[in-house]
């Protein structure tokens, strides 16, 4: 038994009779099943391209029933469900597809894009939550609350076909056929052959032509769906209640796509703004980073200067104190000198008085002695006799007062003579010296 190929189902070897050696499945049967799966995939692709989403979903489910490992069908099913606003079922299909084939699989890219945009998942989850609340309210016949929740859900996810259908059903229940028709028109725009929407329209009395027309007009109607003033439906012959919306110059309403179109901005226009912003940022950086350091350095310099000045000041103070001490000492010395001067002056005065007295005495004594001396000197000069003292004694004797003895008188006279001699000699020296001293002082 030669082994030719691997089993299409389990990958095990296939025997010559066309049966798998492991799963015992007929390979011809499997090939036909896989071909049928591909056929339904192709049909689904055509339907999806013509915006027949519900038909595409049916075909893709059929394709997967023939071959659940048809990854193209599974990935396309995920895309179609995503387009219908069913994000979580789409995610499930892509995750299963990725598990079958982790490499070279578009589902990996889809999942990566969803994972990179977590807000999209949050929005999908919010829309699903609002829809579930609306469904609960509708089951409890709280139609107003259900409408509010559905409006939120549909505004979050505008491709949410189930939401539009439920809203149309609620409008129909409330008898507001116009609003219901708008919702159904939107559904038919997204999914041209939506059976439920077509059935609702038929129930409202629309013909097939009107249904086709509605599906074609659905895009424009969708823009107006939320512009009605709090969903107040206009009756026939009544002016429509709408929000005030500024018109474009041409008179036509601006579509959402035009308003949301990305407009490329000229960055060069804002160069001045960038420049000023850069300057301001630079100044802020300078203020917060560099100025504190500069201030710190300045404070340190200031402190060092203050310290040096204080040192100099203390040195000067000590020097001043020393000078003051010297001044006080010099003042004391001056006082001493002045005292000494006064004493000397007193001495001088007393000496002058003595000198005057001596002069007087000398004058008095000299007047009597001078002629003798002159004679004696002349005699001495010529060969004077040694009895000059005797002559002086004689003159003194003549002047003696009465009652005194001559011997005593002579002794006293001799002493006076000797004093006068000394004073004469000494007195002349003392006077000259004193005069010199007085002149110096």
């Amino acid at each position: 038994m030669a082994i030719r190929q691997k089993c299409l189902y389990c990958g095990q070897p296939v025997s010559q009779n066309g049966y798998c050696t492991s799963c015992r499945l007929n390979q011809e049967f499997l090939r036909k099943a896989f071909n049928t799966s591909e056929y339904h995939y192709n049909a689904a692709l055509d339907r999806a391209r013509s915006h027949d989403l519900s038909g595409a979903v049916d075909s893709l489910k059929m394709s997967l029933r023939y071959n659940k490992m048809n990854l193209r069908s599974r990935n396309l099913l995920g895309l179609v469900l995503y387009e219908m606003g069913e994000v979580v079922p789409a995610l499930s299909q892509w995750v299963i597809s990725m598990n079958y084939q982790p490499e070279r699989n578009p589902a990996v890219r889809y999942l990566k894009e969803l994972r990179d945009d977590p807000k999209e998942l949050e929005r999908a989850s919010d829309a699903a939550r609002e829809f579930n609340q609306a469904l609960e309210h509708a089951k409890q016949h709280s139609l107003d609350l259900a409408q509010i929740a559905l409006r939120k859900a549909v505004s979050i996810n505008r491709h949410f076909i189930k939401g539009h259908l439920l809203m149309a059903l609620i409008y129909m229940e409330q008898g507001r056929k116009g609003m219901a028709r708008k919702c159904l028109s939107r559904v038919l725009t997204l999914d041209r052959t939506n059976i439920t929407a077509q059935r609702y329209l038929r129930e409202m009395g629309d013909s097939e032509e009107q249904i086709v027309r509605l599906s074609e007009q659905g895009e424009e109607e969708f823009d107006d769906l939320f512009d009605d003033y709090y969903g107040v439906e206009t009756r026939e012959g009544q002016r429509p209640a709408r929000k005030i919306d500024p018109k474009t110059p041409s008179g036509k309403r601006r579509s959402v796509s035009v308003r949301q179109r990305f407009k490329e901005s000229n960055l060069a226009r804002y160069s001045n703004v960038y420049m000023f912003a850069g300057i301001i940022i630079g100044m802020l950086i300078l203020y917060f980073l560099f100025i504190p350091g500069i201030r710190k350095h300045a404070e340190e310099d200031k402190e060092s200067l203050e310290a040096s000045y204080l040192k100099e000041l203390s040195a000067k103070n000590s020097e001043l104190f020393g000078l003051q001490m010297t001044v006080s000492e010099s003042e004391k010395s001056v006082e001493k000198v002045e005292q000494e001067k006064e004493e000397l002056e007193k001495k001088i005065a007393s000496l002058e008085a003595q000198m005057a007295a001596l002069k007087n005495q000398l004058a008095a004594g000299g007047a009597a002695l001078l002629p003798d001396k002159k004679e004696g000197s002349s005699e001495q000069g010529e060969g004077a006799t040694p009895n000059d003292d005797d002559r002086a004694d004689e003159t003194f004797d003549e002047d003696l007062p009465e009652g005194r003895e001559p011997g005593e008188e002579n002794g006293e006279a001799r002493r006076a003579d000797s004093q006068t001699e000394d004073v004469r000699d000494n007195g002349n020296m003392t006077v000259s010296e004193l005069e010199a001293m007085i002149e110096n002082e």
Partner: protein, 48 residues
């Protein structure tokens, strides 16, 4: 004529993102190969 309550029954709650894991685990799609395999195994069990 549309019956509102009957129509509501056709609407199923939408799945939130937090329920995705459970949805993936619960999905057990059987294709025609699985069914045939199951049938052949059942037949084998009967013949034995």
């Amino acid at each position: 004529m549309i019956n509102f309550d009957e129509e509501l029954k056709q609407f199923t709650p939408s799945l939130e993102v937090s329920q995705a894991e459970g949805d993936i685990l619960s999905s057990d799609l059987k294709d025609i190969s699985d069914i045939v395999l199951q049938m052949t195994e059942d037949l084998r069990g009967v013949t034995r």
